[in-house]
């Protein structure tokens, strides 16, 4: 199970690294090379985003990546095939990340089934609060998949505890208000927020939104279990090309 795997990894590393890519952007071929670079650079777990036409929780960079990928002909089927290949090739856990409509149209139970068959470990669905996710939660549990839920700075302690009750694998703590891709100020207030997250659950904590350089990771070390790097790798690929990804990733924890 994802949770125990992560716990085990944490005994070896003081902070884990999760990265995110949008499948099919710039192309499936390049997506695969990016995964390769990342795994080789020591990434511990990856989110594979199935592109959606209306990614409301994502900022400009990831939004554009979603649209380009779709425009280039990405389909859910191709994304699953990609995941299958990645899982067969690389020995880290992979998650799907997408919006609920992708699961809904596929059929939530069928989606969980195919995830399990493919070897994915869980999913992040940012527009599916647990209240709307009964079927999803059940299907994920049936297939021993981790439904990753989200804490945010506006989530009350009471609600955090409730969410933790539905979650498995880890909790995705969103660093701040806003969408992916903007900067985050890792302030004292932020530290208090993490303390609240910590006290609400004993699941591993991942922290995402605005993590983009070594100093961010240094700050997070000891406070959360997983640092999530999303938008920044897309920027690196866009500016410096796929080959730059490995170096970037290695630099984060060195």
């Amino acid at each position: 199970m994802l949770k125990s795997y992560l716990r085990e990894q944490r005994t070896k590393k003081d902070i884990l690294l999760m990265t995110h890519i949008v499948l099919g952007y710039p192309s499936f071929k390049e997506s695969f090379r990016i995964v390769e670079e990342m795994v080789e650079a020591g990434v511990d777990i990856m989110e594979l985003q199935i592109p959606f036409s209306e990614p409301i929780a994502d900022g400009a960079v990831i939004l554009k990546a979603n649209q380009r990928s779709l425009a280039a002909g990405s389909t859910v089927e191709k994304c699953i095939a990609f995941a299958e290949k990645a899982i067969q090739t690389f020995n880290i856990p992979f998650l799907f990340m997408s919006y609920y409509n992708i699961l809904f149209k596929y059929g939530v139970r069928q989606f969980a089934e195919v995830m399990a068959e493919t070897g994915l470990k869980g999913a992040i669905v940012p527009d599916l609060p647990p209240e709307e996710g009964a079927e999803y939660i059940e299907a994920m549990a049936d297939h021993k998949l981790a439904p990753i839920f989200i804490f945010t700075p506006t989530t009350s302690m009471e609600r955090m505890k409730k969410i933790a009750g539905y979650a498995d694998g880890f909790i995705y703590c969103v660093a701040r208000r806003g969408v992916t891709g903007a900067d985050t100020e890792f302030s004292l207030e932020f530290q208090k927020y993490l303390e609240r997250c910590r006290s609400a659950t004993d699941l591993p904590l991942a922290l995402g939104f605005g993590v983009k350089e070594k100093s961010d990771i240094d700050f997070l070390r000891g406070k959360v279990d997983i640092a999530v790097v999303g938008t920044q790798t897309i920027r690196i690929v866009e500016k410096e090309g796929v080959d730059a990804v490995g170096g970037f990733i290695r630099g984060l924890r060195s």
Partner: protein, 408 residues
């Protein structure tokens, strides 16, 4: 939020976790206001002193005579301040924003109608205002952009996605998840996550309340049928809601565009091209592909050019309580033209969809029957589109000359 605004499976609130608290606050403010007997009075008061409610229910004697069937009445939402029913919703939400103590509003807009209405409300209430509008719409609806800017709003062209209404909604949500502490998102139609469909319907129900009272006063009987165009569904829900328990047939008319077979349309409930999905925070019929990706839509009326539709209407479609039809672009221009000529009324292109269907059915009915058409807005805002539909040479010459002046 325990009641998640479900209508037999349609609706819900599929919102990012960061907005949960904001929605809780909004639901509370809305429920509080609804429970406060003074609130509706305050709402009616502002709508009668700032806009001109009650809007008239106009007997269309010439149309009635022409079709030789049912008596045709027209509910005149075009006479609202800013020219459409959109005013009802924005002023209502404005009062809620005041209650919540927020100082900034944001909104999406397609045709620009809801953007102008929101910017107007913001000017009146002293709120800061940002309007998201697809870049394509910014280009084709320039007059509305001009007025929004004069009203003090910042209009942000959305350059992502299909660059029309749905993309503007996404962008508004992105703003909201960033600034929800200060900001309220004034959603423009009876769509989106709970409580928007219910809340927008609540404010728009003033249309139906008035219309029902008016027709009973004027004719002593209920209408046989009520027609409204359906974009997101707010004007339709507004006029339908008070007739829901009456033996009155309710007819929603969607954008048939270039025909239901052409795929160039925006018919979610009257075509086979739509299916149930979840996007923009709610579950309803969407025009989407098998993967769940939203399709491009088309309508001559920018305000109907939208992939989703009110979950309440999806529900009423399933129960059969509301009948849905589609009107094609060319039928819409004809009905508009005919209504202008016969009654001196200029319905918006959106509203003209409702006229198309009523005209098709009026003569089947008897002289004792009554039809009400909701004229959701006025069409003079549509001159750039309508003049093009008529290929008016005088207009083209005028624009060319104007342009020469600017180029000089």
């Amino acid at each position: 939020m325990d009641n998640r605004g479900y209508y037999d499976g349609f609706g819900g609130a599929f919102i990012p976790e960061i907005l949960v608290a904001t929605f809780d606050e909004l639901v509370d403010a809305y429920m509080d206001a609804k429970a406060d007997s003074g609130f509706w009075r305050e709402y009616e008061q502002i709508m009668s002193s700032y806009s001109c409610r009650p809007t008239p229910l106009t007997f269309a004697g010439n149309l009635t005579e022409h079709f030789g069937g049912a008596k045709i009445y027209i509910k005149r939402e075009d006479l609202n301040h800013t020219g459409a029913h959109k005013a009802n919703n924005v002023m209502g939400q404005g009062l809620l924003v005041k209650r919540m103590g927020k100082k900034r509003v944001i909104a999406e807009t397609g045709a620009g109608q809801h953007g102008v209405a929101t910017a107007t409300m913001a000017a009146r209430f002293g709120f800061n205002c940002t309007i998201y509008m697809g870049e394509v719409d910014v280009e084709r609806q320039r007059p509305n952009v001009f007025w929004m800017e004069r009203l003090g709003a910042e209009v942000i062209p959305v350059k992502e996605g299909t660059r029309i209404l749905k993309d503007a909604i996404n962008e508004a949500f992105r703003d909201w998840v960033t600034n929800m502490d200060t900001t309220h998102y004034v959603l423009g139609t009876a769509c989106g996550p709970h409580p928007f469909p219910e809340m927008v319907t609540y404010f728009q129900s003033i249309i139906g309340k008035e219309a029902r009272k008016q027709i009973l006063e004027l004719e002593g009987v209920l209408p046989k049928r009520v027609y409204a165009c359906v974009g997101g569904g707010s004007n339709a829900m507004g006029i339908f809601s008070d007739f829901m328990d009456d033996p009155v047939e309710l007819v929603g008319v969607e954008a048939g565009g270039e025909g239901l077979e052409s795929s160039r349309h925006a018919s979610r409930l009257s075509s086979k091209d739509a299916s149930i999905g979840v996007a923009q925070g709610y579950k309803t019929y969407f025009l989407q592909d098998d993967d769940g990706q939203m399709k491009e839509t088309h309508s001559i009326a920018a305000g109907l050019d939208y992939v989703g539709v009110s979950p309440i209407l999806s529900h009423l479609k399933e129960t059969g309580r509301v009948r849905f039809e589609a009107a094609m672009d060319h039928e819409v221009v004809d009905a508009l033209s005919f209504t202008i000529r016969k009654e001196g009324l200029i319905p918006a292109l959106e509203s003209s969809h409702a006229f198309v269907q009523a005209f098709k059915e009026a003569s089947e009915l008897s002289g004792d029957d009554i039809l009400i058409i909701n004229q959701s807005g006025r069409g003079d805002k549509d001159i750039f589109t309508v003049a093009d539909a008529f290929k008016d040479p005088g207009w083209e010459k005028f624009i060319i000359k104007k342009a020469e002046g600017y180029n000089a």
